[in-house]
């Protein structure tokens, strides 16, 4: 805090009245309250991270990342969940990245104002749709017809979550690409598609990657869209997207509800794995954007 805590009006020329003193006290009190609020705001984050690290680290053994779960939890691991998350988030990215990036390109480069507004509005609204409803949607179109919970439906649900995020961030980044680059390329006779691919997207690539990474981190932590789609499974499922598959968030949710301490411990372990991934991505991304726009 700066020295400005003393009342501004107390100069040499002005006499300090009782009212001034009261104003100074109000000023100081409210500013302190603001500081306290900010500290209060950080406490939950610290508490959550501390508990996850302390409890999770005890569960993180070699078995944990190399073995499938066992019924009792003894000698069991979370291999099914780790592989499941990698596969489903991977497939979701394969679907969502092209759709999201191309969509963002269309809104910025090709569409007229009205279409752009409609598409942007849809993406913004969709970001606010509760993820559990996206789960119901994916269930209806991809689980009901096949009468079988499957990992493909889970990946599609995650892709639905990622698309609007990637689309909006791509568009925001493309706005920052100078128009002169585009004009220069077009003036050289380069066709539009090559201009977009090798000039515009190339220039915006770091920013687009940032948006993609944030979307991936978000999808990796989502549980609700997977409940009625991938369902979860105790078996290690590699490559069979027509069958149920586990994921780290599902693993945490299911093990947290068990009455056995050893299974609860594994939930903490899985939470730590997830947290490390999500926080690493976020911190890397923030560090990047900070360096680029030091504001």
């Amino acid at each position: 805090m700066s020295a400005a805590a003393t009342p501004v009006v107390s100069g040499r020329l002005l006499r300090r009245t009782a009212a001034d003193r009261r104003r100074a006290i109000v000023d100081r009190t409210m500013r302190t309250l603001c500081l306290i609020a900010a500290i209060l705001g950080v406490i939950p984050l610290t508490a959550i991270i501390a508990y996850i690290v302390v409890n999770g680290i005890q569960a993180l053994t070699v078995d944990f990342v190399t073995k499938p779960p066992t019924a009792s939890g003894v000698n069991g691991g979370a291999l099914n969940a780790i592989l499941g998350t990698i596969q489903m988030v991977g497939l979701a990215s394969i679907i969502a990245i092209p759709v999201g990036v191309l969509g963002g390109v269309f809104v910025h480069e090709f569409s007229d104002r009205r279409s752009a507004r409609v598409i942007r509005f849809s993406a913004d609204v969709f970001v606010g749709v509760p993820s559990i409803l996206i789960g119901i949607f994916a269930f209806t179109i991809l689980v009901l017809p096949f009468k079988q919970y499957n990992a493909f439906a889970g990946a599609v649900a995650l892709a639905f979550l990622m698309i609007p995020v990637i689309m909006r961030s791509t568009e925001e980044i493309l706005r920052l690409v100078p128009g002169s680059l585009r004009e220069a390329s077009l003036a050289l006779g380069v066709p539009m598609w090559r201009t977009v691919a090798s000039v515009i997207l190339r220039t915006g690539l770091p920013g687009i990657l940032t948006g993609v990474m944030l979307a991936v981190a978000r999808a990796a932590g989502e549980t609700a869209p997977l409940l009625f789609t991938a369902l979860g499974s105790r078996l290690v499922n590699v490559g069979d997207f027509s069958k149920p598959m586990d994921a780290l968030p599902l693993f945490i949710y299911n093990n947290a509800r068990q009455p056995f301490e050893i299974l609860n411990k594994q939930a903490w372990g899985a939470a730590l794995v997830l947290l490390i991934f999500v926080l690493t991505v976020n911190i890397l991304v923030r560090a990047r954007t900070w360096r680029r726009r030091p504001s």
Partner: protein
């Protein structure tokens, strides 16, 4: 928004074949409109699938009904609507004052050296997966609330019906606290942005008149930012209403209408999360989806209203913030 050069290559001389351009434009258009199609598809599917329930019970009766009994095949949404609204209301009561004061601190008072990392830390909460926060809620927060805040309220203010016990830890109040943690970053981030976009002339004029920093903030900056902050709060509310996993894990999932804020309850999202897979009869599934439709309508309307408020306040015509 900046004006961009005339879109497309309409003025380009024909040089070679133009089909790759058309193909590229077509594909990207398809991708962009897929977003619109997904949204419409979701809304249409929820509406269609909930029709049987609405037809069977009537819209008003379904919304106001207080019994949810799969055995008797009677479905009423009120307990879950109440659980959703109450838990979110508790979250707002806790989060709003803290979030606004924090936003003021970050935007107006803190030196940049402190403001930047603090903003980062607070926004980091939004990145933590909901199920991880729920895990912490189950094993750390609820036992803590049970022996501290809840038992204090019950033993000192227990005569007031809404504070009546027993303190269970798990319940509406715990859900509200968890939600307040989860919506805090949303409200802080957007309020901070709105406050920062208040023109400096406002501050300078007020300081020039001899006002203190707080008077400047309170009387010259906040009135300017009021509608935007209001929008931020509504966006937070929208997040709270739809939040699923963390709430499911700490609210206790009881199908009764709550009498006290320490009662166990259930929200629309947690009801769907816990029973959708077990629903075997068509009408039960349809009723659950009807719950989902109610949730969709509320959250979408709130989001649209909030975005309009925030966009207006921060002077941008398109808000791209989450």
């Amino acid at each position: 928004m900046t004006q961009r050069a005339a879109p497309g290559s309409a003025t380009l001389p024909r040089r070679g074949s133009r089909w790759p351009d058309r193909l590229f434009r077509g594909t990207s258009g398809l991708a962009a409109w897929a977003m619109v199609a997904i949204l419409i598809g979701l809304a249409a599917m929820l509406t269609l699938s909930s029709l049987p329930a609405f037809r069977e019970f009537g819209v008003v009766e379904f919304v106001t009904g207080t019994t949810w009994d799969p055995v008797a095949s009677v479905y009423g949404a009120m307990p879950y609507i109440a659980g959703t609204l109450f838990s979110s209301a508790i979250a707002l009561v806790i989060a709003t004052p803290i979030a606004i004061l924090t936003a003021i601190y970050l935007a107006e008072l803190a030196p940049p050296r402190i403001a930047a990392p603090l903003t980062f830390l607070i926004e980091l909460i939004a990145a933590i997966p909901s199920v991880v926060i729920g895990l912490w809620g189950v094993f750390v927060l609820t036992p803590f609330l049970k022996v501290t805040i809840e038992s204090w309220f019950v033993s000192n203010l227990g005569e007031i019906p809404i504070f009546s016990g027993p303190p269970l830890g798990v319940g509406l109040f715990a859900a509200g606290v968890i939600l307040s943690i989860m919506i805090l970053p949303t409200i802080v981030a957007i309020s901070r942005e709105v406050i920062r976009s208040v023109p400096d002339s406002q501050r300078e004029a007020m300081l020039g008149l001899g006002a203190t920093r707080w008077e400047t903030t309170w009387k010259a900056v906040l009135p300017f930012a009021r509608s935007g902050i209001f929008g931020a709060i509504i966006l937070g509310l929208g997040r709270a209403l739809g939040e699923t996993m963390a709430v499911t894990m700490v609210i206790g999932n009881s199908p009764d209408l709550p009498d006290s804020i320490f009662d166990q309850s259930q929200t629309i999202a947690s009801k769907i999360a816990t029973t959708f897979n077990e629903a075997t009869v068509g009408i039960q599934t349809s009723s659950l989806i009807a719950l989902g439709l109610i949730l969709l309508v509320i959250t979408v309307l709130l989001n649209i209203a909030a975005r309009a408020l925030v966009a207006q306040a921060s002077g941008r015509d398109e808000g791209g913030m989450r």
